[in-house]
């Protein structure tokens, strides 16, 4: 469904991606892990078209989307809940969800809204509140719900568990699992919380300084001693 091949992305002179190849198939949850600054967020943003890669191709359902602007990429069915959530803080929760539905047809709005509220009931209670005043967990739920409002076929999630209490993390991971299993949503997930994310995933990739260094099924990666040492020590 999504294929990234030989992608190089720069921020000015700084090279963040150095020839990344990944593949995400229909119906999968694919997890990407890696140290801080490895280029994970840059990869997700490159898929969404902001920034564009200097070299390499991104294709979605066989269509080359490498040079499309972000607002056209999301219309093709790739939505992102980005790093840092980036909800619109001076808009209400409801307006944020309306923004999420910009790419989809307006007669789908009510249905998508109902589904979003079903996944995250707290958002319904908070719908008239300014999004900037939500708690961190609520903001994360809003960011995911906003991405789902466009009824995407591929959902990109950048560190949805960052800074959240274990209970909220579990709730969010359950939602990811639910939309994948029930609605067949394809998910590409970036996580620091490697244990949970790899357990959830069908497959995973490991990124080191702008390169993919390893890939395999979620279980293979979890069992790999190198990965255990680098990403799973402590905690779990």
């Amino acid at each position: 469904m999504l294929s990234v091949s030989g992608v190089h992305t720069y921020y000015g002179q700084v090279q963040a991606l150095r020839g990344v190849d990944i593949e995400v198939k229909q119906g999968e949850i694919v997890t990407l892990i890696g140290a801080n600054g490895a280029g994970k967020s840059t990869l997700l943003m490159t898929i969404s078209g902001a920034p564009h890669p200097q070299q390499g191709r991104v294709t979605f359902d066989g269509q080359d989307i490498t040079d499309l602007p972000p607002h056209e990429i999301v219309r093709l069915g790739i939505a992102q809940s980005p790093e840092g959530r980036r909800i619109f803080p001076r808009m209400s929760v409801y307006e944020n969800l309306q923004m999420g539905s910009v790419p989809s047809r307006s007669d789908h709005f009510d249905e998508a809204l109902e589904q979003a509220y079903e996944l995250f009931p707290i958002l319904k209670e908070r719908q008239d509140q300014r999004a900037g005043t939500l708690s961190g967990g609520e903001q994360q739920m809003l960011a995911i719900a906003r991405a789902l409002m466009s009824k995407p076929r591929l959902l990109l999630l950048d560190e949805p568990s960052l800074g959240l209490a274990p209970l909220v993390v579990r709730q969010i991971f359950n939602v990811i699992k639910e939309i994948n299993e029930r609605d067949g949503m394809t998910v590409f997930l970036v996580e620091q919380n490697a244990y949970h994310a790899l357990k959830l995933a069908h497959r995973g990739y490991v990124m080191v300084t702008g390169n993919i260094s390893m890939s395999g099924t979620g279980k293979e990666l979890l069992d790999n001693p190198e990965i255990r040492a680098a990403y799973l020590e402590g905690g779990h």
Binding site: P70, Q80, P82, M91, Q98, V102
Partner: protein
């Protein structure tokens, strides 16, 4: 007292005009974080289009005033919108991502170009028009001094209120307004949810320009004289209004406009008419020093 009330009415009328121009500054600043230095010229073009349109309508015999006003209003808005759109395409869009000083300089270049363009096309002499609407209401009379509000003043104030209501609705309630606010808050995120950011910025320039055009029309019929240079002073005053009200805030722009109009009217009436502009610019300096966020502005001083 009567004198005071009369100045209040005059000041509010003037302030409505400044407020309409100020909204263009504030909307553009809100969305791209930069001042549109060619905005005063868009207002001037609105005034010229109005002037020419009145002449043409008069020549073809359309003398029914409400109809003439409506036609001229639409023409002025459309033409100014095209110029506002062009300013964004020529002076701002190619420099997106360039250092902040670059689009500022290119916009000043646009401003000088537009002034000279109108001067060459229309001549440097002042253009004068017969009063279109005369008469008014006498509100009070005392010791031989009368307080009047002219039909023209009523027209200006009512039209301003109507436009404010329309714009507040567009920005607060429509998809376009939401897209504009989203671009203001996080432009990259707006594009990730499917907003065409370039188009939204263009439309913001267009909306600001059409309000400036209405102000141009109002000045043309209120004072009856215009020249190619009016955009400069009115532009700085409206900019002052926008800064005073809190740049980026729509209600702030209107409030600032009204205050500037009142200051100008009262200063002219009670002190000296020669120094009214100095009074206004002193406000700009004082606000920038002591309260750069303005009356209703958000405390984001780093962006100013």
């Amino acid at each position: 007292m009567e004198y005071f009330i009369q100045q209040l009415i005059n000041g509010l009328t003037l302030g409505a005009i400044y407020g309409l121009i100020a909204i263009g500054y504030t909307m553009v600043y809100g969305i791209i974080g930069m001042i549109n230095f060619a905005h005063g010229e868009i207002y001037m073009i609105g005034a010229f289009v109005s002037f020419i349109a009145f002449l043409v309508l008069g020549a073809v015999g359309i003398t029914y005033i409400p109809l003439a006003l409506l036609v001229v209003l639409l023409l002025a808005m459309v033409f100014s919108a095209i110029y506002g759109w062009s300013v964004e395409r020529i002076a701002y869009r190619p420099l997106r991502g360039a250092p902040r000083l670059s689009p500022l300089i290119s916009a000043i270049g646009m401003s000088i170009f537009l002034q000279n363009y109108v001067q060459i096309l229309q001549g440097a002499r002042v253009k004068a028009m017969q009063p279109l609407i005369s008469g008014g209401f006498t509100l009070m009379e005392h010791d031989g001094f009368t307080v009047t509000i002219s039909y023209l003043q009523i027209f200006i104030i009512v039209l301003t209120i109507v436009l404010m209501a329309v714009f507040a609705t567009v920005i607060g309630k429509t998809a376009l307004g939401r897209a504009q606010r989203a671009c203001e808050q996080d432009r990259v995120m707006a594009s990730l949810v499917g907003v065409n950011v370039d188009r939204t910025i263009s439309l913001t320039f267009v909306m600001g320009a059409s309000l400036a055009a209405v102000a141009g029309l109002m000045v043309t019929i209120y004072y009856g004289v215009i020249d190619f240079y009016i955009g400069f002073l009115a532009g700085i005053k409206a900019f002052t209004a926008a800064v005073l009200g809190g740049i980026g805030s729509m209600p702030g722009a209107m409030l600032g406009g009204l205050l500037i109009g009142l200051v100008e009217a009262f200063w002219s009436a009670y002190f000296s008419i020669e120094y009214k502009d100095v009074a206004v610019f002193s406000i700009l300096v004082l606000v920038l020093i002591f309260r750069p966020t303005g009356i209703l502005g958000k405390p984001e001083v780093d962006k100013v």
